[in-house]
Subunit: 257 residues, 2 copies
DNA sequence: CTTGACCTTGCCGCAACGTCAGGGTTTCTA
DNA sequence: TAGAAACCCTGACGTTGCGGCAAGGTCAAG
């Protein structure tokens, strides 16, 4: 047989066969006078084994391992490992399919979330806010909320949004105060005032860490740095007010545990 | 934020963020005086959207498409395509898992098929052969059967093995005749004799095409070339005998349809 | 004799980053 | 205040399992 024949016989491409040669899986057969590879039945049997294994999902080096030990010792081992791997992959794909199906339903149901899909919790929160007067600070805040929504793991989300609920009721008071600080310096006297009002309507629990997608459980980045990052691109006086408010909340929390 | 911070916030690596910059998904933000990238909340929101989409399994260029059209037109389209893709992948993986589970059971049940797993059909056929006297031809034939077993699609396998059943009963006659030809020339008178005996115990249906893994339904390689390939590495007289036998079977078949 | 279907080697490309290498900056700590 | 740890930068190569192309050589048929 020439390479095209053996390849067709087993159901792979000639290119794949040459690839197996190159990676040492299939020994190079003898050559004809013209340089063509000449295959026999033994090669075809081996090639068929390789193909079956790769179709099961083994990588080429795993195939090499399995073929190498003539006894079936490593085979069971590799196969068990692979089985777990496949189970994990299947679960992963199912999960993605579910999330995708949710999104698809939502998208086909009419409203397409052009600025990114929002969680139901956040949607409810924003809906509860109702119509607000035009405000740059409100826009920024919605950006921040959207980011939080995307970044906070599902398990924490409802808790966090619940905390926001109380603050949302005072949005009409707070946004104008912060808007007024857009051009002010950090030592403006209105900073303290705004911080006081803001702190008054935030719940104690907001002073602590907020877990994010990146903080993988163990080495947690303190939530303070998250907040720092979120408010860093506000105007200096606004940033100062928010930071002050957060400190007030923390202090209040420490005094009344 | 610096790159490490935004990356941790959203749950990706800094390298991935730079990769998104390079492929134009995420615009390069402003730099600090020292050359560090400086990110804002808007970047984080965008990055979070990118991450959600990639986690759903979209490729980066698909993400680019989805992000590009502000209206959700292409989004539904891409998502539907992806959904089908995921369904296919899941089915594929489940199939592999099932086959793997079968193999694992078989392997753990005791006997490990060191020379490649054989189908139950072929195992039955070989078991029915019983103990044969030592014979090089028998060994070759087992190789060929193993290859056929691996190469013939499942649907055809039981039919093919059923055809072999009848021939297997005459193995004790045929193998010695062929073994005797191992050193002979192609024009040896015993060739015709062996071919006659062999043809007599082969069923008519063996003269036709045998579908293989490679023949993808439409452009079928004739089964003759498969047989040619399988018997090509026998001794010349043996090969001649087998070819003659096959021709006899074909002629017999045409005469008595 | 040409055409078309094979074969040969070799090298680039892909998808989504991981992982150095080689150098500069910032920040924490002793 | 110095040194080390922890960041940042760019650039370039590695990963997997081949697909595809280039630039030839070989072979059977019309």
């Amino acid at each position: 047989m020439r390479i095209g024949e053996i390849a067709a016989l087993v159901g792979v491409t000639p290119r794949a066969v040459r690839h197996y040669h190159q990676s040492g899986l299939l020994p190079e057969p003898a050559r004809r006078a013209n340089g063509y590879r000449e295959y026999g039945v033994r090669d075809a049997v081996l090639l068929a084994r390789i193909r079956r294994l790769t179709e099961l999902g083994l990588g080429l080096d795993e195939v090499r391992v399995v073929l190498a030990d003539d006894e079936g010792r490593g085979l069971v081992e590799v196969m068990e490992e692979l089985s777990q791997d496949l189970a994990r992959q299947e679960a992963e794909i199912r999960d993605r399919r579910e999330r995708l199906a949710t999104l698809l339903d939502e998208a086909r149901a009419g409203r397409l979330p052009a600025d990114g899909p929002l969680s139901p919790e956040l949607s409810a929160l924003l809906a509860g806010l109702g119509e607000l007067p035009e405000s740059p600070m409100a826009a920024k805040d919605r950006e921040i909320l959207a980011l939080l929504d995307a970044v906070v793991p599902e398990a924490e989300r409802s808790r966090l949004m619940g905390l926001m609920e109380g603050a949302a009721e005072h949005a009409r008071e707070v946004y104008p105060l912060l808007d007024a600080l857009s051009g002010a310096e950090a030592d403006d006297p209105r900073v303290a005032e705004a911080a006081g009002v803001l702190a008054a309507c935030l719940p104690d629990e907001l002073g602590v860490e907020i877990p994010t997608a990146g903080s993988g459980g163990a080495a947690g980045v303190p939530g303070a740095s998250l907040a720092d990052a979120l408010f860093a691109d506000l105007a200096p006086a606004q940033s100062a007010a928010v930071h002050l408010a957060m400190r007030l909340v923390r202090e209040r929390r420490e005094q009344r545990p």
